[in-house]
Symmetry: C2
Subunit: 380 residues, 2 copies
């Protein structure tokens, strides 16, 4: 049905009406006092969301652009970096590093499994000559729904002295990412995830320690030169023309997030994570990852008695719900249900109820109709 689309993908996520409408306001000049006021408010609220005193810089770019900026500003060609990879995005940051001539030391885990912290410990402890300059790690691996133990990895990295560069694209705004407490030097994220915004803005938080590395880093950069963004931000502006109307939306989205409060946001996402997982178990749909390392943003499911792509197709055609498929070697093997951002309890029941009806239509076996919704409801 037209205009009845419900996004249950891990980004873009549903956008609240006040945020959508804010974007339709007349564009203003980006060198005006009015824009600077918005910029200042947004930046303060971004720091609140990141639980940090560090700079949080906003770029006109996707999350990939933000992460690239977060890598190339603090390193020089030939620098050794440890890259954790247990999915599409961890792998991507290693490819970014390689594209810039960094020496990548991979720590890999199977998609669906968490990164093994002890491997970071071994590599970092063995590096007595401090050749490792940074550890690049994805917090919530969007491709598999796995939440890596960023806190523990940051801890060992801080003990070593290397920079912690974290991808929090689908964790910021969905679960606590206490940047200062965990000692995260660089954190990248994107607007179309927990921020309840359309895509188009990327965010990078930068610690004083990272700024120290910036001074010595020689990888080439211009548009993504974060020093320029920092200098401009001190005057409540940006070095290049910012996406003004996306800032209008972001201003409203962050106001809404502040009103709900960090605790409210995080418990809501955790509740939805538990509800979705309980429903999948009840429906006899195997989960890709274990509960202990499950993302609050997205749940990956590997159905056995029916095809994942059939489920996605029926969910879309019959119920106007969009689920994500698998990426790369998991294409066609899993579906991913996103539950981050502007998602309420009703949406979860909605998604699970439609999933049950879809399984019925596809003649899936091994489940009792109604059991998924009941299981989800028990967690809400």
């Amino acid at each position: 049905m037209d205009n009845k689309l419900m996004l249950m993908i891990p980004g873009p996520t549903p956008v609240p009406e006040p945020v959508l409408l804010a974007q339709a306001k007349h564009t203003i000049g980006h060198r005006s006092g009015e824009f600077s006021e918005i910029f200042a408010e947004v930046t303060a609220n971004l720091k609140w969301l990141h639980q940090t005193q560090n700079d949080v810089l906003t770029l006109a770019a996707s999350g990939t652009g933000a992460m690239e900026a977060g890598i190339i500003n603090f390193l020089s060609a030939g620098d050794r970096v440890l890259v954790g990879s247990n999915g599409k995005f961890g792998e991507r940051w290693g490819l970014v590093a390689e594209a810039y001539g960094l020496e990548v030391d991979w720590i890999k885990a199977e998609w669906g499994k968490p990164l093994d912290v002890s491997e970071f410990v071994s590599k970092l402890e063995a590096d007595t000559e401090k050749t490792i300059k940074a550890v690049i790690v994805t917090h919530s691996e969007t491709s598999s729904g796995v939440l890596n133990d960023l806190e523990a990895i940051a801890k060992v990295t801080n003990a070593h002295g290397a920079l912690v560069i974290a991808d929090a694209v689908t964790s910021l705004g969905a679960t606590s990412v206490p940047v200062d407490e965990w000692g995260l030097d660089v954190v990248g994220s994107g607007s179309q995830k927990g921020y309840m915004m359309p895509p188009g803005l990327g965010f990078v938080s930068v610690s004083e320690k990272a700024w120290g590395a910036y001074e010595k880093a020689t990888l080439p950069r211009f548009y993504f030169d974060l020093g320029k963004y920092r200098k401009s931000a001190a005057k409540d502006t940006t070095p290049y023309t910012p996406p003004v109307n996306l800032f209008f939306g972001l201003q409203v989205a962050l106001q809404m997030m502040k009103k709900e409060g960090l605790e409210g946001i995080f418990t809501r996402h955790d509740r939805h994570r538990r509800a979705v997982r309980a429903a999948m178990v009840a429906l006899n749909l195997p989960l890709l990852g274990a509960d202990e390392c499950s993302s609050p943003a997205v749940t990956a499911v590997m159905p056995s008695s029916v095809e994942a792509e059939q489920i996605r197709s029926v969910m879309k055609k019959r119920f106007d719900i969009i689920l994500a498929g698998g990426q790369d070697h998991l294409k066609g093997k899993i579906f991913r249900m996103g539950h981050l951002g502007f998602v309420c309890d009703r949406d979860i029941l909605n998604g699970i109820a439609a999933l049950e009806a879809t399984l019925m239509e596809l003649g899936a076996d091994g489940f009792s109709p109604g059991s998924g919704v009941a299981a989800a409801a028990s967690q809400l």
Copy 2:
């Protein structure tokens, strides 16, 4: 007065209501058939606007990001490039080139004067060993309101064999930029100018010859790797999450542009250029550049009997019209009136009438009230 702002800066420019409202539609998944349809339509219309069969790629970035992509994808460290600089933006592209280790050979002209084509001829003809790999030139220099002779510079560059990399940020959609006819290998632009869109999207057109250079180019890039955008565009999609809601707006803006037609758009901008310049002369306000090289997008004025910044201040406070100031060494010495994008004849009369009233309020001498509007009207 609240919400009565009228933008007369060279970007962001006024945005039509249907474009603003399109951005407020619910975000859709970027890997959907629906998005691919929009992407395909937008890409076809971008090619129409560029008058080209070349690829035209859309990035989540400002015009600076688009230009950086247009430079770094086709060159390798140490390559020699000729950079034309007669303003802030020409200078910027040289700085981008230097940041990436290219050997920059500057051709400079005073801000307000056009680049001298004969200097390009001399340098290119002297380069019998073909060490110059690209010529980077700004078509409409936004900082000074000067239109460089891109056609002539492209012609001598094509004869030499180097790539023509053009900044058409404030010329595309304001004056004819026939990419194929002029042999422009790479053309960068941004949404908040002639496109009648808010900022947030950058565009790069790429010729087959440039793709040939891409194969051999070794400057590092990832987010801005245009080969990835080309590969995705062949499947009507993007390598990274695109700013979906900005695409909604762009779709509508390009439909409006197609309806007006290239000839209509270009004659309208030319009419406004002439009207604004005639008015400034009538008002005894010295123009920074000569008529022969004047931009259809923005007019720079260097007032003598009153301060440029006072004019801007009164225009804003009394009439809610935003003019741009000067940049760098022209700060405080000039004001710039933008007249590109969604601007009708009435807007020009409006701007000139308010400027007259401002001059009266400031006690400027040497002009007859009414003469500016009369002069503008005579050109409309």
